[in-house]
Symmetry: D2
Subunit: 162 residues, 4 copies
Amino acid sequence: MHRTAQHKHSSQPMEPRDPQWQEKVRGSFARQKVMTLIGAELVDVRPGRCEIHLPFRDELTQQNNYFHAGIVATVADSAGGYAGFSLMPPGSDVLTVEYKLNLLAPGEGERLVAIGEVVKSGRNLVITRGEVYAVNHGRSIHCATMQQTLMTMRDLAKEKQV
Amino acid sequence: MHRTAQHKHSSQPMEPRDPQWQEKVRGSFARQKVMTLIGAELVDVRPGRCEIHLPFRDELTQQNNYFHAGIVATVADSAGGYAGFSLMPPGSDVLTVEYKLNLLAPGEGERLVAIGEVVKSGRNLVITRGEVYAVNHGRSIHCATMQQTLMTMRDLAKEKQV
Amino acid sequence: MHRTAQHKHSSQPMEPRDPQWQEKVRGSFARQKVMTLIGAELVDVRPGRCEIHLPFRDELTQQNNYFHAGIVATVADSAGGYAGFSLMPPGSDVLTVEYKLNLLAPGEGERLVAIGEVVKSGRNLVITRGEVYAVNHGRSIHCATMQQTLMTMRDLAKEKQV
Amino acid sequence: MHRTAQHKHSSQPMEPRDPQWQEKVRGSFARQKVMTLIGAELVDVRPGRCEIHLPFRDELTQQNNYFHAGIVATVADSAGGYAGFSLMPPGSDVLTVEYKLNLLAPGEGERLVAIGEVVKSGRNLVITRGEVYAVNHGRSIHCATMQQTLMTMRDLAKEKQV
């Protein structure tokens, strides 16, 4: 007879390896001009977790006046990337290797909320999950889910190599 | 000033639409001969959730004597597929449209445990998440994570069309 | 003895089902305000193929002054989406179900070129491939590759349902 | 006025870095017991390309007597993995980081043919594409398409770390 097992994700040491992790993340975010262009805000960052908000603007829409999928992806990718970056060692940078995004519902509402969380932090690769919610008249709808692979770029001079 | 929002996944009605959901899932699993070939067991199924176990066998390995990634994927895909199938209406079948799998750690141990869960159950498409754990000397290691899209095939005669 | 087989992709009928396919695609593109915001141009559209160009602008960059990955994804997603839309029947709309994007090289240069092509056009789902090139001093570097699932939305009133 | 650009994939140096590349690939394939279990054959391997065939067997099927999606994925993953491994330096091993697979048509027929090809061979990561065809009464149907990320494991003692 089987019992249904209780399995937890391998408990990751969500300990930042860089004491400057918060400044590092906030500084990098501030240098991403596209975040300014679209009006994204880094609302919260913790070791292994990052939350980005994006207020609605007419110029961020697709043909039905919802947030464009590319904009949903941009905030999901950034939230996942900074969640991973918060755990990376000093002197390193973060590179998105790839991600996969499912769009679950239209990005309709006054604000997008993207939350990135680290699933596994390896020596070279960091795997994250990202969820995006559209807040519509105060109600939060799950509008996208993402699975992402990041790479720790140790030597910044080699940044172009994957 | 921002407060960090509390966002929950849109609460899905994890209500089965087919009163025969359990027999349907168990019957379909029993007809998948590849499950018999590899020795997979359907340990638990609930509306929107499915758990499959796979005991180690030498013939399921890759070159380093771990579970082969294809086998890890097979149980992840099946767990996600049956999680989704449990919610589908009578007379329908389930089709995997696509999935994306990250391998997080070697599949090393005496058993694989794959858990599939529905993230969003739409009219035509069902999005699931799958997690695979390798149980090694009783300790559970998170070895793979999957994001999957399923399709509800309403008219079984049209099954070949995606 | 084996001979290496010659296998071609199943020859898709890349016949548009809507005689207005070109106007439909160009009209939809024109209504995507985010394309105007970033400065993307619909350079070429044919049945099952779409090409979008994006000239460099400082405000589209990440922290190293390359095109931001989210922008790369936005043009890849749109190129794939319009490649698929060009084959869809009259009265339908296109919805991105999901995509997966690998970033191959930094988006460095004076222009991005995104090319979307249909791999399989099914009754409900359309699978596409997208390639993005960064043109740097006239030299074209393959900087991203995408695999995407689209859905044909037949009844526009049901657009919110996936 | 725009001309449609001609863009080629960045021409990869598909030069093997290991003179023993062919023996290495064939030896690793032979040690994968799951390949023997399912009856897969390594039909052709070249630098950056690998072709695997799998004859139909009743025990490889799902509930409708087609090849099970997990089996389709297993041969796609292996074909991509060995395409990448053929280009890796001496003393290294290959690890699948992740892949994404779209199922395009049922795996119905007397044989599966999986072809893996390298899209980009980087210092640490190798990106591949895999296509699977089902040969049915001699006619080849494109039944799956895969996008995959591999990692070069330089120091085999570190194999468990990703």
